[in-house]
Amino acid sequence: MKYQSVIAGFGGQGVVFLVKVLAICAGNRNLPFLGTENHGMSQRGGAVSCHIKIGDFTNPVIDNNQADLLIGLEYRETLRNLSFLKTDAYVVSNDDPKFPELPFKTAKADAFTKAKNNEFPIQGLNVFMLGLTLASVPNFPFSVEEVKTAITQMNAKVAEQNIKILEMGLDAGK
């Protein structure tokens, strides 16, 4: 299997957390993978674009026209990263009234409004979008249970809360 994902957002949104969750999922199944993360200056609220390539790869960076999936934690960051996608790729994005119709299979949810309505704390936005991904991307390489296990391995203390938000994302995608 070869599966290339781009996870985009801006510094502070927890993009790197999602890369780590997917890395743990792959590790648990002993699937080879290579991921790349943004650290340092790019973390100060700037645009963040992290990549994870699952399968037999030798470098962690995704080139244009290669990715199977883009998860965008903010609509402008989704738009900024579209060039990475293959034509048959999936997009899972935080929605916005200004978000255009895309020529990709797209799942959207207005996670900012949900967080403003106190449905979940904003820190859980990343996990919410992962839940939406699990519900709406049929060829996503990991199951809900695998993701829950990885979230627990990441940080057992907040796992219960994160899994609750993951399920809200799953519901939003049904």
């Binding site: 801006f10 510094g11 890369v19 780590k20 890395a23 743990i24 792959a26 590790g27 002993n30 080879p32 993978f33 290579l34 991921g35 790349t36 993360e37 943004n38 650290h39 340092g40 200056m41 790019s42 973390q43 100060r44 609220g45 700037g46 645009a47 994870i52 790869f57 030798t58 470098n59 962690p60 960076v61 080139d63 244009n64 026209n65 290669q66 402008r76 960051e77 738009l79 900024r80 579209l82 060039s83 996608l85 293959k86 034509t87 255009p100 119709e101 895309l102 020529p103 900012f112 967080a115 403003k116 904003i122």
Partner: protein
């Protein structure tokens, strides 16, 4: 044992599994996590390892180097520009050598992600005549760390490990030692004055001869250990690609994706290369393409009419490696004639990828630096001032128009001297962070006092190395080291300002400093005691949890907040009024009274005040 690790974690584990028990260095992206992970492993396994930050890279290198002279296995970590600072020590150490293995990790940043230069530390290794290992992946980084220590101890010379950002911050499953049987060398300094205290020219000249001989031996070692088996796998005569580091991973994938057939040689140690032996093989090929980041290190060692790379304008010369760039290089030497498989696919007729406004990094919401810079530009007007600054988070005040120059660590102070001499009609207001002040700001301050250079220096003391991930600074862990006392010790007054979120108080303080400056004959130094909003330990004492919102009736869309104060939550909404993004507002309350000329910022009393 299989473990999912980031490249820098892998290097840290490699050090522990190589029995390194002294690690020193200075933080810098992309190298910073190496030392902090060693500290974590030390705590987890209860090891007696020295793993501490130095005040700068030169200090870090020298601490580790002395350890290696005394027989310990040691490591110094830094980013590529940090090696510029440590280079004085490195150049000399390469003559003298060491007994215990010493690994110098110089992490490069192709693509300028977080660095003021791109450079290529392998070239520095060549300049210093020390061997360099170039890992392609986190697995390589782990393996080469252990290997580097072995090579260093075998040849009694520091060895460089040169991971690039795409190795340091890459993540994969690593195969590493099952157990940690940590058995560090016992440190014992053995007096050998002609070696450790080598003087010019009597002792240094023979050491220089030894250095040259060592490089010849290392070339032989490189061939026997790494290169001969790589060349043995080759059997074509049309195209050979020689790569090192990430170049290997990118080149291999490009060959698979494009269907181009070529022999591929991965160089583990790009310097010193046994070029005479390599040429016996490379001469057989019609074309040899070199894929490497970021400068022509391998290429220049094996240069020949059939060798293509940066110097023949075949491969890219600046910026990060991409597969598209390798494909282009293959096209340039007529090895690929197909379409660009990495072109952005044509979207539908109705849809073109829209232009999205850039989102550069910015000072965090609630960062006290913003207020200090706001006050500086209010009191010392741009037309009559010059603002030299330095390397750190506060560099991001560029967005406020509060910074005129950035050179390298510590340069704000010495450049303030230079500007004050060259353009004495303007007030020079320099800014530097606490970690950068200790790193390189003290010698230029002493120089300015000594030479009576008249300018204002504002030391922004948030008691952490914030930009690289909040590493400990000298005064944070050792309270007796105090910036104010350091400045006073240099013989002048230090004006201390305790940060408050009341902007008018900050502005009034700088008005007072302006008066002091007018009467001064030398430098006027301010230390602003601040905090870092991301510093969980200290920020809680400072942030009042006063969240802002906007009275739309009062907002006249004058741009004052979005151009001069520039706090990220402030953005125009569809009504053409400023709106505060509640998810970004940190509750610092600093914008509530001065920033808006029409007082449109008001406290959002609906938000909880619990800390």
């Amino acid at each position: 044992m299989k473990q999912t690790l980031m490249g820098n974690d892998a290097i840290a584990w490699g050090l522990i599994h190589a029995n390194v028990d002294m690690v020193s260095g200075y933080p810098g992206t992309p190298s910073s996590e190496i030392l902090t992970v060693v500290q974590k492993i030390k705590a987890k396994l209860g090891l007696n390892t020295y793993a501490e930050w130095g005040t700068n890279e030169k200090v870090g290198f020298e601490v580790a180097y002395a350890g290696a002279i005394a027989g310990k296995r040691t490591c110094a970590t830094m980013k590529q520009v940090g090696l510029n600072v440590a280079s004085d020590a490195l150049m000399s150490a390469s003559y003298i050598g060491n007994l215990g293995g010493m690994l110098l990790v110089a992490a490069d940043d192709p693509g300028f992600h977080s660095s003021q230069t791109e450079q290529d530390s392998r070239i520095f290794a060549k300049f210093a005549r020390i061997p360099v290992l170039d890992p392609a992946t986190p697995q390589d980084a782990y393996d080469f760390t252990k290997l580097g220590i072995e090579i260093s101890e075998k040849f009694q010379i520091p060895v460089m490990l040169r991971p690039v950002m795409r190795v340091c911050h890459a993540r994969e499953i690593i195969e590493m030692d099952d157990e940690t049987n940590y058995t560090p060398n016992k440190g014992e300094f053995k007096r050998d004055i002609p070696r450790w205290g080598a003087v010019p020219r009597k002792d240094r000249y023979p050491q220089g001869i030894e250095q040259l001989n060592r490089i010849e031996t290392l070339k032989e070692f490189n061939w026997e250990t790494f290169l001969s088996k790589e060349f043995d796998k080759c059997n074509r005569d049309d195209l050979l690609i020689i790569t090192s580091g990430t170049g290997y991973g990118f080149a291999k994938e490009t060959l698979v994706d494009s269907g181009v057939e070529a022999d591929l040689v991965k160089v583990v140690m790009p310097y010193p290369l046994p070029f005479e032996k390599m040429k016996e093989y490379t001469n057989k090929y019609k074309k040899v393409l070199i894929i490497e980041e970021t400068m022509p290190c391998i290429e220049e060692q094996i240069a020949a009419p059939n060798v293509y790379g940066k110097n023949t304008n075949t491969t890219h010369k600046i910026d990060e490696m991409t597969k598209e760039r390798i494909l282009k290089a293959l096209e340039n030497i007529d090895a690929y004639k197909g379409e660009n498989i990495y072109a952005i696919p044509a979207m539908s007729e109705q849809f073109q990828i829209p232009e999205v406004a850039p989102r550069p990094p910015a000072l965090c919401p609630g960062c006290p630096h913003r207020d200090i810079y706001y006050a500086i530009t209010k009191v010392f007007k741009k037309k009559k001032a010059i603002y030299p600054s330095d390397i750190g988070c506060y560099t991001l005040a560029l967005a406020q128009g509060a910074i005129d120059s950035i050179l390298c660590m510590g340069a704000s102070v010495s450049m303030a001297s230079g500007f004050s001499i060259a353009d004495p009609d303007k007030t020079v207001v320099a800014t530097i962070g606490d970690s950068t002040f200790f790193h390189g700001g003290i010698p230029p301050l002493i120089n300015a006092i000594y030479q009576n250079h008249k300018f204002i220096l504002v030391i922004l003391d948030n008691s952490t190395t914030a930009m690289t991930g909040r590493q400990t600074t000298p005064e944070r862990s050792h309270k007796d080291i105090d910036i104010k006392k350091v400045v006073e010790g240099c013989g002048i007054e230090c004006h201390e300002y305790m940060y408050t979120n009341k902007l008018d108080v900050t502005i009034d303080f700088f008005k007072g400093i302006k008066e002091v400056y007018e009467k001064a004959t030398g430098p006027v130094v301010v230390v602003a005691r601040e905090f870092c909003i991301l510093d969980a330990e200290r920020a809680v004492d400072y942030v009042p949890m006063e969240f802002a919102t906007v009275d739309e009736e009062k907002c006249v869309a004058c741009d004052a907040c979005t151009t001069v104060y520039k706090c990220p939550p402030m953005e125009y909404n569809d009504n053409g009024k400023i709106e505060i993004d509640p998810f970004l507002c940190a509750g610092c309350g600093a914008c509530l009274d001065v920033v808006c000329p029409t007082d449109a910022f008001i406290e959002d009393t609906s938000r909880k005040k619990d800390k």
